[in-house]
Symmetry: C2
Subunit: 443 residues, 2 copies
Amino acid sequence: MAKGIIQPRILKGFRDQLPKIAIARSEIVSRLSEMFCSFGFVPIETPALELAEILLGKGSQETDKQMYRFEDNGGRDVALRFDLTIPLARFAAMHINELGTPFRRYHIAPVWRAEKPQRGRYREFVQCDFDIIGTESIYADAEVILLAQSIFNALNIKHTIRLNNRLLLNGFLAGIKAQDESSAVLRAIDKLEKIGKDAVSDELKRETSLEQTAVDTLFSYLALSRESEEPKAILKELRSLCKGQADAERGIEQVELLFACIAESEFSDSLGSVSLDLSIARGLDYYTGTVFETFLCELPELGSVCSGGRYDNLVSVYSKRELPGVGGSVGLDRLLAGLEELGRIPDRATTAEALLTVLDESSMGKSIALAQKLRQEGIAVELYPSPAKLGNQLKYADKRGCNKVIIAGSDELESQKYSLKIMNSGEQKDALSFEQLAKSLKQ
Amino acid sequence: MAKGIIQPRILKGFRDQLPKIAIARSEIVSRLSEMFCSFGFVPIETPALELAEILLGKGSQETDKQMYRFEDNGGRDVALRFDLTIPLARFAAMHINELGTPFRRYHIAPVWRAEKPQRGRYREFVQCDFDIIGTESIYADAEVILLAQSIFNALNIKHTIRLNNRLLLNGFLAGIKAQDESSAVLRAIDKLEKIGKDAVSDELKRETSLEQTAVDTLFSYLALSRESEEPKAILKELRSLCKGQADAERGIEQVELLFACIAESEFSDSLGSVSLDLSIARGLDYYTGTVFETFLCELPELGSVCSGGRYDNLVSVYSKRELPGVGGSVGLDRLLAGLEELGRIPDRATTAEALLTVLDESSMGKSIALAQKLRQEGIAVELYPSPAKLGNQLKYADKRGCNKVIIAGSDELESQKYSLKIMNSGEQKDALSFEQLAKSLKQ
């Protein structure tokens, strides 16, 4: 390092995002926002920094340890948010009387967790949350599932949404006398996909008081949705298995209503399906009804890219008011990692439809005017900022994945007849009028 | 407070953004991104947290004091970024060889400063930066100015861009032997609009060694662009005033080229003008050529809502490489505050085009299906999540500024004939087919 130079580097666990990935990210975020809005969800913003006591409110010990927490210049104990749920709860406790219910919000924003960095896991990542609060209606659950489906359809991604219901699970657990150990049981079930049946069975016997018969019943319960794809058939089996368990029966009813709604309004050209998966448990204490996860058909091992469910009371930590809700969250960073793995991120580091080359200093003013005229037609144009060899400008376009190059030297600008080179085919059209040029660029 | 309840509150100097303002903000951000892309600028992302030594690099003492700086769990000295310029410099030092030049990037992201909170000033705010780096071409300056203009045209905001050139200013200051005190002089000039000529004159005599004659010459220089709106006329006067000052002459040449370009490509329907304002100085050491500020015609006292300029070397702190550039930044929070003051923020807390009312539990499935069908037509629809009195649902729509309400009970859903109520006129259309309904909603 030269004297006085500070070595440019980045914090461990953090990253820069270069244009190719940042463009893909920004396009997905636009699409998400559009879909949220098409269901009438409204954006809100909350601060990245909150008082630590607010964030500590309901967090688990694990998240507490992962918080970026410090004393600010005013001596306040503050921290960076580690999710968007606790800020929503705090926000709702303060503003819901003014806003009224039902209230549908979305929030796309970064969160910070000082986790051990792993491949594809960073200490700063973006959450995309959507929730309908202030309603117990199962139809809100249906809207959340349909929104998840619409999002992946809009992104042109084949997907499967697997849903379950905590009432069902809890009722069943009561049936095998495991209601007091539900946390440990759900934690073990959650690993079924990952570690397999035998290891889960071992864990259940080690961590809970369940005996072999109960474990067998549990597996036969979980197997119901493995053996059939048809929710109706599974629900029929469940009815007899859970007879007399009030919670389970309410859960079955909710699941039935949900599937009926979805069947009635699913698009025929949907790229995804919704199935009942009795092994979806989703964490521990938070959820109380519907729970769901979403997987990419081409890369299920990526894990869920959109998860959520219903909860009874969002704001209990901050208010006496009861505020039930249902929502979900798109894991944007995981989704992007998956799309990259699938080769679905275009190799393109430009937002421009075309590069306008510049060959003569004397006609720069006309070049800028042409660029502006094309932009006014809705065509994104990058202007090379100074005269340079045509070959270098073509290389520049090629490097960025910009497929169309407008060639306009002073003669072309004078006669208003332009050339357009298509980089990937090598084809070149000459002597195009402005209208012909604009038309070719719009194609 | 009830026992065990944590009082929900927000950090001093921070704020929640409720739907009305968050919707307006999100629409402006979309429009900004569109305009950045239409000029071929690409997005990048950098971490909110950086090593403190990186951020301290070139910051002034003032920004250092305002940093949220702390020790992270790993004992590292870290801080939240207080602007997007230093992260860009660090990013460019690390990645520019891979990315190549010219490189046009935009970056819309929050920054944090522990400033004294004032009306309309918060400790977290969003910057929207755009820069073209790796080129000395004055035509890049022209593109930056035209982009600023295009942004405010796209936002339908009457504006005026005032530009100046630091070479011009410096050359002139050399002419009155004030080149060694340029910082103090520029600082004083910057206040002209705010505190008036007499106070600036006092400050100049107090803080610099300028004598009355020099101060008078300075004011007559500044007055040139006050007395005329016509850049050509001003430049002619300047030529004689600055004769023999090499810097000033180069500056005059650049300004001439810039105005020629802008005149050639300005849209005839532009809502703004670009003028030469010799009193625009923009801070101290950073800028080396073009500098500009943008004001709302209807609210000039708001201050500049989009400022920037040319700099010689972005990355000198982190690299030996020279990297000149030119760029600007939209002050999103200030702009929003201005639009709010002008009554330009719609009183609307919904993203939905229409509310679909729900009157019967038994036909909820059909209601959801109707909502989905409308959404597929590109119409944003909010579904009321459970049956409720029509009056309450109308009130709900009214409160949110949702002007269209679809009324569809089980009869309407069965016969597929719907009613549409327009809230502000009270008009109601009945027995609309799906196609008629969709058409009315798209209007």
